[in-house]
């Protein structure tokens, strides 16, 4: 009886381990391939629909498909209007299961953007990330954030405090000043 019972008990465990490890190996390979394949699809999509969204210009690094930059136009009727802001994307190998890291390269005065590092506080870039987002749609979300700042979760406290204290005019003039200083496309 014992001989009969033990091997079964044992076999079941072995099976679980074996299944588990092949799964891990598989998923590591999957991540790398899947992220490249998907970024390539996004690249083709961007090339195809370059004119579809004139406010966003997404460019992939020549040598590294995991590095992208984007130029976005400041939304109209905001202090960022007429400015062009550069974003840097760093895409993780687990993309799209993990969100890309995005930061402003252009200085911007906005409650949800760190003034020095350009780090962006946006839920979809953190815990509200969904793999259905694309780099293009992330850009759109950032444009929406520029138009609708969230002063209650500030990364730039000065900017957040101006808005929270109701000093809309003060906020707008500061933001416009920095847009003029840093985000104006150079002519010629």
């Amino acid at each position: 009886m014992r001989i009969y019972r033990r091997p079964n008990h044992f076999l079941q465990n072995v099976q679980v381990v074996a299944v588990g490890s092949s799964y891990l190996v598989q998923s590591a390979a999957y991540k790398m391939q899947a992220s490249r394949a998907r970024l390539f699809k996004e690249y083709k999509e961007v090339q195809r629909e370059k004119s579809a969204d004139p406010d966003i210009q997404l460019v992939c690094d020549d040598s590294n498909i995991f590095k992208w930059t984007a130029l976005i136009k400041g939304p109209s009727e905001t202090p960022y209007e007429a400015g062009v802001f550069q974003l840097a994307f760093s895409v993780p190998e687990q993309y799209p299961l993990q969100p890309p890291q995005v930061r402003f390269l252009t200085k911007i005065f906005h409650p949800n953007v760190h003034f020095k590092t350009g780090e962006i506080c946006l839920d979809i870039l953190k815990n509200a990330w969904s793999p259905a987002w694309t780099l293009q749609s992330v850009c759109r979300a950032i444009i929406a954030l520029m138009a609708h700042p969230e002063p209650d979760s500030p990364l730039n406290c000065d900017s957040g405090n101006l808005l929270r204290s109701g000093d809309i005019r003060g906020f707008q003039s500061m933001a416009r000043m920095y847009t003029n200083l840093a985000a104006m496309p150079k002519k010629g």
């Binding site: 019972r5 394949a37 969904s130």
Partner: protein
Amino acid sequence: MDSHGQGDNDGSSGSSNTCPICIGPFHIDSYLDKCFHKFCRNCILRWSEVVAGRHSKPPSSVKCPLCKTENTSIIHGTSFQKHYFNQDVGSSAFFSDAHKYRLQCYYIEPGTLTDTFSVSLYWKSNKYVQKNRFLFNWLRRELQALFQKEDVDIIAHHLHGSIDSLGSSKTKAPGDSPGTKQEEFKALVSQAAEPFLRGRTSRFVEELELFLASGLTIEAYDKVYIQHLGWKYDELTPDDDDVIPESTPVVPSLSLFNDDDFE
């Protein structure tokens, strides 16, 4: 910040013929069970793993990447097979350690517990006349363990009903010998269970008899069973410790009774 951008997803994923996660053609169509959004099977499974990895214990539901609806399973294949999200981790909501132990019982030789619970006494002393109020829950767990599926209620009701009908018909024929009653019971339950359990039917009937003969609650029965086999279940035993004080008194009296009168 929650509000913006959700509608953007549709436009960016291009046509509806591509999986929103890999933006490629669908590989094994898989639908979420609430919102019916479609993904590749692998894509949505990997995503559910990522979501599960964020929690200390596996969540029973995953938000749809497209519409944020909470979904508990993926439906795929021509047979509309259901895959529950927390099954990957091996500890599905319904499949507890108790289920594992029950399933493992079917891999040991039968008859190891016949000394502990006397089945013959059960039939001789007409105990079957009394309804066992733990029977349905025991049946359900046993079937869940054997099928490794959660929804076994229909089969459990079916078997419970046939066992019940036997109990009531028995009372009308008190002249039968214990042996024939037992045979009748076995035949009836086997017939009811065979279409579902196939090769495991006869063993299932034996286990069922053992449980009925024990006259114990499910917790107490498990305790005796596990103790008898000398297995160690770290997860099972601490919970059961609270239950033993009330239930153990039944066990000694039962085994005493067996030894004196019938062995």
